[in-house]
């Protein structure tokens, strides 16, 4: 078999994959819409318990990481390999910061007895609020899984860059990794207002 290289084909494949990711979250967004319509008051109250400051910081952190990966693609295309690698490392580092902040947010909730299946939650909160927290954990949890997958993917791309397999003439792997990372960022941009800002 000859090596088949098709830049447009690779990008097209990635975009279709991103569609499927949006649809995966789409199921959860549909559930959110249905329950928000049914429990507007309860969602309002439950949302107050979330830490808007931490959420805002996380939004900034994630958007910044997205900027870094975009800059990494630009740098690699200009054949500034070392700079591109540094920018990918920064992207991964900021993703780590995002997860650490998320960890503190979640553990704070756990201390207040707010977690899926919690007896305390069921005893002290209205059904609509329980639904809100279930959705909060399901959606931010699935998002966090995507952050971790994205870190792994970018780490792998970094290794390929070090090996010279991803370079200024063949950069589509980094570009696709960047697209994935922008999607992770984009989903968070929707999650942030839906959970933190509706109160």
């Amino acid at each position: 078999m000859t090596i088949h290289r098709d830049y447009t084909g690779s990008k097209m494949g990635m975009w279709i994959f991103l569609f499927t990711e949006i649809l995966l979250f789409g199921g959860l967004f549909v559930i959110y819409a249905a329950y928000h319509h049914r429990y507007p008051e309860e969602f309002h109250h439950a949302s107050k318990a979330l830490d808007t400051a931490m959420g805002t910081v996380n939004t900034v952190v994630l958007i910044t990481s997205s900027l870094f990966v975009a800059m990494a693609v630009a740098a690699l295309r200009r054949a500034e390999d070392a700079r591109a690698r540094l920018l990918v490392v920064l992207t991964i580092a900021f993703a780590g910061v995002f997860l650490v902040i998320k960890y503190f947010e979640w553990t704070a909730k756990f201390h207040h007895g707010i977690y899926p299946g919690s007896a305390e939650l069921a005893a002290t909160h209205a059904p609509g609020e329980i639904v809100f927290y279930s959705l909060y954990f399901a959606m931010t949890g699935l998002h966090a899984v995507h952050v971790i997958v994205g870190m792994g993917l970018l780490g792998f791309i970094l290794a390929r860059m070090r090996a010279g397999a991803v370079n200024s003439t063949d950069f589509v792997f980094l570009e696709n990794g960047g697209l994935y990372w922008h999607l992770v960022d984009l989903i968070w941009i929707y999650l942030f207002p839906l959970f933190y800002l509706i109160a």
Partner: protein, 562 residues
């Protein structure tokens, strides 16, 4: 409907004329590359033909298991009360039959197996766009299937929810639903990656002279299917993940006690699972569209309408999911809207059926096995399609909802439709893959036995349903006995037909008469290659598309089938 003008060129310019018409076929892609073990060269292959065959063999193996389970269900139902198994076993057996047949057999059957084997050949490509991803999809399929098998023997026993995993039962049953839904998630991921691969392949790797209106209709069907796979399957992914989370984490999103709504689950499930029936049927329709003109020696009637109707089915089919929920407590407005949309899907399906029949009209018909299976498809699919309208009409559905009428309808469409499409494909492309032919007469006999068996097996179910026999019941009132007996006897005839067909194909690939590149005298690109095709397909030179896919002028059938 106007015929599509197709370019005409003298026969001598196609490479077909240069290859010998008889003699032992060379190994083609079957030859193990030097320096590799036979097993290794299959398990690590990126050749689309080999991956397609890996799928096909696994699918057929699971099909055999599914058929066996189906036979056990029918045997249990031959008389009221306990016949061969207890209630809980029965629940597990029909769940398994559903999960295996839907997720491991029917959904991957034609797209993953024959899509892989044939589609790159039909568009003049060397392989799919992402060959390694293609192999990865197969491993995901195997992993998903293995996990599904594991779910039977571990945890609290085999799942007993039916293949739909409806809450609240699926969230509370002690059986091993956790592992089963993970298997479904992985199988879905495999299906998404195959669809993605096919879309990019069809967009990017067509031979330069292969325009969109020159594409064989099987490839058109795969293209429409691939979009459904990509756009619908993720919703199933999140739905089964939520079942998992519901059980493991106690999320409560579908639990009314905690503010959830079980109806939402049904919506999410059918948003995927209704389009999924089009994943099952549209590729089969593509096979039929490719087979019928070859054996009628006539250009397909209404090429463009058939191609577009595949896309129309894909589009309209994604808007009808709630017709599974007419009695679930939706608003009357929703019921009416979804009922109307359901009727609209019947239009593109009917367009295809009429076009096939018009193609046969005044054709010079050869009654070879692929055509017999295709005629079986048209007959059985129409039976299933018409009864689908009874279920799509909101008023009539209330009467037959969740009865054997649904079971009959579904099996006519999926076994009579997709199953026969798969059999037609197996008989049509068999000589291309193996370079040999099976016994045509026996294949025809098997097809006729299958049509008789299927009608005997499933037609009584319509009558049972109209008389009120609910589906999935272990026991029934004595007045239903006669029809159940007829149905069970039909299941034996069907099994006999399947066994005869399988034996004949097996004998064919061992001892069949060798054939040349184009035994049926077809006009699509795959038949210009030797049988079996070489690993590199067309090699470094892009094939020249000199004729339309159904332009048979100057192409003769080989003596081996004459």
């Amino acid at each position: 409907m106007a015929e599509i003008p197709m370019a005409e060129t003298p026969m001598a310019e196609t490479p077909m004329a240069e290859t010998p018409m008889t003699g032992t076929p060379d190994g083609g892609f079957w030859t193990t590359p030097p320096g590799r073990s036979t097993l290794g060269s299959w398990l690590l292959t990126t050749d689309h033909k080999r991956i397609g065959l890996l799928y096909l063999w696994c699918i057929l193996a699971f099909f055999a298991v599914g058929v066996l389970l189906g036979l056990l269900i029918r045997l249990e139902l031959i008389a009221p009360g306990r016949t061969i198994m207890a209630q809980q076993t029965y629940n597990a057996v029909f769940t398994l039959h559903g999960v295996i047949m839907i997720f491991m057999v029917v959904i991957p059957s034609i797209p993953a197996a024959f899509g892989n084997i044939v589609m790159p050949l039909q568009i003049g490509a060397e392989d799919v766009a992402f060959p390694r991803l293609n192999l990865f999809s197969w491993y995901l399929y195997i992993l998903g299937a293995a996990i599904a098998v594991v779910s039977l023997f571990t945890g609290g026993g085999a799942p007993d929810t039916g293949w739909t995993f409806y809450v609240p039962f699926s969230a509370t049953t002690s059986t091993n639903v956790n592992v089963a839904v993970l298997a479904v998630f992985i199988l879905g991921f495999s299906s998404i990656l195959t669809g993605l691969n096919f879309i990019v392949t069809i967009h990017r790797l067509r031979a330069p002279s292969m325009g969109w209106t020159r594409m064989p209709l099987f490839t058109w069907g795969l293209y429409a299917t691939a979009w459904i796979q990509v756009l619908a399957t993720p919703v199933l992914g999140i739905t089964v993940l939520l079942i998992f989370a519901e059980r493991v984490l106690g999320l409560g999103l579908f639990d009314p006690a905690r503010g959830g709504d079980p109806i939402l689950y049904q919506h999410l499930f059918w948003i995927y699972s209704h389009p999924a029936v089009y994943i099952m049927i549209v590729p089969a329709m593509g096979v039929i569209s490719d087979v019928i003109p070859v054996f009628a020696r006539k250009n397909i009637f209404g090429y463009k309408t058939i191609a577009i109707s595949s896309l129309a089915i894909a589009f309209a089919g994604s808007l009808v999911w709630a017709h599974h929920m007419f009695v679930s407590g939706m608003s009357d407005v929703a019921v009416m809207v979804f009922s109307l949309l359901t009727f609209i899907v019947a239009i593109p399906s009917a367009v295809k059926v009429f076009n096939w029949v018009s193609t046969l009209y005044k054709g010079s018909i050869y009654l070879d096995p692929p055509l017999i299976y295709s005629l079986g498809f048209i007959f059985l699919f129409s039976m299933g399609g018409v009864t689908g309208l009874v279920l799509g009409g909101a008023g009539t559905d209330v009467h037959v909802h969740d009865t054997y009428f649904v079971v009959g309808h579904f099996h006519y469409v999926i076994f009579g439709g997709t199953g026969f499409g798969l059999f037609a494909a197996m008989h049509f492309w068999f000589p291309k893959v193996y370079g040999r032919l099976y016994n045509l007469k026996i294949a025809n006999v098997a097809a006729v036995i299958l049509v008789i068996g299927l009608n005997m097996l499933y037609f009584p179910m319509y009558l049972l349903g109209l008389e009120g026999m609910p589906r999935r019941y272990y026991d029934y009132l004595p007045q239903y006995t006669d029809l159940h007996v007829v149905s069970t006897v039909g299941s034996w005839i069907t099994a006999a037909g399947l066994a005869l067909m399988a034996w004949n194909l097996w004998r064919g690939l061992r001892h069949g008469a060798p054939c040349g590149p184009n035994p049926w005298g077809a006009a699509t690109l795959e038949w210009t290659l030797p049988s079996p095709p070489p690993t590199e397909n067309f090699g470094p030179v892009e094939p020249e598309v000199t004729r339309g896919p159904y332009d048979f002028k100057g192409i003769e059938r080989e003596e081996v089938v004459a």
